[in-house]
Amino acid sequence: MSLLLVGANHKTAPVEFREKIALAKEEIPEVLSKMVATGPIREAMILSTCNRTEFLAEGEDIHGSLEVIREILASRTRVSTRDLDPYLYVLAGLDAVRHVFSVASSMDSMVVGEPQILGQVKEAYKISLQCRTAGPTINRLMHHAFRVSKRVRTETDIGRGAVSVAYAAVEMARHVFDTLGNKTALLVGAGEMIETAGLHLKQKGIAKTYVTNRTFWRAEALAKRLGGEALPFESLGNSLAMADMVLTCTGAPEPIITKEQVKAAMKARRNRPIFFIDIAVPRDVHPSVAELQNVFLYDLDDLQKVVDNNKAERIKELEKAGEIVAEEARKFSLWFSSLEAEPTIRELLEWAEEVRIKELRKTLKRLRGLDERELEAIDLMTKALIKKLFHRPIVKMKREGGRDGSASFIGLARELFGLDGRGSGR
């Protein structure tokens, strides 16, 4: 029984690579079923956001599980498994647990402390529940992760200052615009990222907000929530001319904003600057747009750099959060080990109970004339004897059972007590 996590994020891979391995929500169930189809993987979950794509697997054979995931990645990206490796991180056991907790606590986010990631993790877990690829380990791990995230949020200041990617975006916009009070923002997309960004811009006093989205009613709904106006997606080109700031985060596989469109928009708005923030992966705004005069384009990787500069102030909080995560990861692994020792302990106790009852009967046959109270006392005494005798070995097995190399404690117990030869083992 072992946990494995394979992934790539904004720290290990450039946006081009992340675009390749990113999975749309609709694609995840298919890949999940592929993961568990071949054998070594018993439980699976996939988290795919703008910044990261991670595969979580639980199975007996770590190496086998890793191979399955690498094969899936290679076939999806059409990149050889060897070329994939530089961008991937592979974590096992306690490291994987720690990573999952860090991600859920927004410590690994591009904007450290941004709150959206928890929702995204929950969503990923929900998908794997629906696909029935989440088993006891992932269930327990996820619920624990949600608790850790809450603890980190309440016990550290990690979330302060960083509302979301929008925070970094507004910081950047400050270099271009003096005030947002007379600016117009165009939000392209209607997802959670866009909503958070829109709210943040509203807080910062943006004068007007337009929302456009392929599904118009979603644009309308979001525009209503933000006090803005929805625009038809078909007239995106014209809408650009009205916007000083354009934020995009759609699931489109190809760029939806081209250089020609922006060029025309710039002419229409007599060259007043436009600031594009493209938080979509794959990108929504073609990179060549940045070549135009008075057009500024930032993608997720650029925001990362902005965020890095504010990081120093948050390192202390990160350390605090790191301690919480480490502590919780230890707790989890304790449970995880005990999970491993569980069947053996149960068998051991069953066997002890059998012996006790057998011996008790033998003894009671000879001791006649005992009253109710005396019978109960003997019963209790034998029970206590077993409990006391097995207490230490059981604790030892629970604690050490799951660790690599010390799994032999369980084997040792089985051998010492002859559990495997009893024939009644599961």
Partner: protein
Amino acid sequence: MDLGIVGLFLWKIVIICYAVVSTAIFLYLTREKLSNPDWSRLLVVGGFLVQSVLVVWLWIETGILPVGSLSKALRFFSWALAALYIFVLYRYRLSQLGLVLLPLATIMWALGGPMREAKASSPLLASPWLTVHGIFSFLGEATLVGAFGVSVLYLLQERRIRKRISPSFLARLPSLEVLDHITYKCMAWGFVLLTAGIVAGAIWANQAWGSYWTWQAKETWALATWLLYAGLLHQRVSSGWGGRKGALLLIVGFGFLLFTFIGAGFMGSGPHRFDRLQG
């Protein structure tokens, strides 16, 4: 009256003030940790007051605006630049503009040399129109140099945004929007002042020689410069030639200004010619 030793001393004071503040602004802009000290503002104002005393003294001594020779013109220009800088400092809080304007003011003041005793001058030059012409032309040109200076800041900031240079370098620059706006203001006001200067010059020329325009080298170049800025302004207002393009063109404009100011003073003949290098 000869200012002599005192004049030399005051002249040096101005150089020191401006040089120190130039350095302070440079350090403030490039080192994230430093803050812009309050004394730098006092130092600029102090230097400017000393400059004003010297310029006004020379003006009173000779009875005409002290711009008639290269060194006088350089000093007067330096004074006009400092005046503009202080205005921008208090009006727009753009102390960063000192990065461009103060070194220029320092160099021009230093090249101009210390004040010497005044020479008697032609009564022809004592006309009030000439004074108006001089003041407006110099202030106009200084303001256009200001537009150039803000454009330089604009280009630095723009580069920083495009190249994603970490904020520690020139982090204190205002937003592009503000820089573009001040550029436009400087351009517009510089243009208006320059126009007024040229018109006053023409009126004076008519009074002195009975002709408004004589196509002297300086006049021709000033006209070219004026036309260039007229064009830039028009394009900015009508076609949105702001931003990077506008900033680059203002750097070209600065070339024109510099040539009109210094180069044309050595061409042809007439009252604009810097005959005496000392003075």
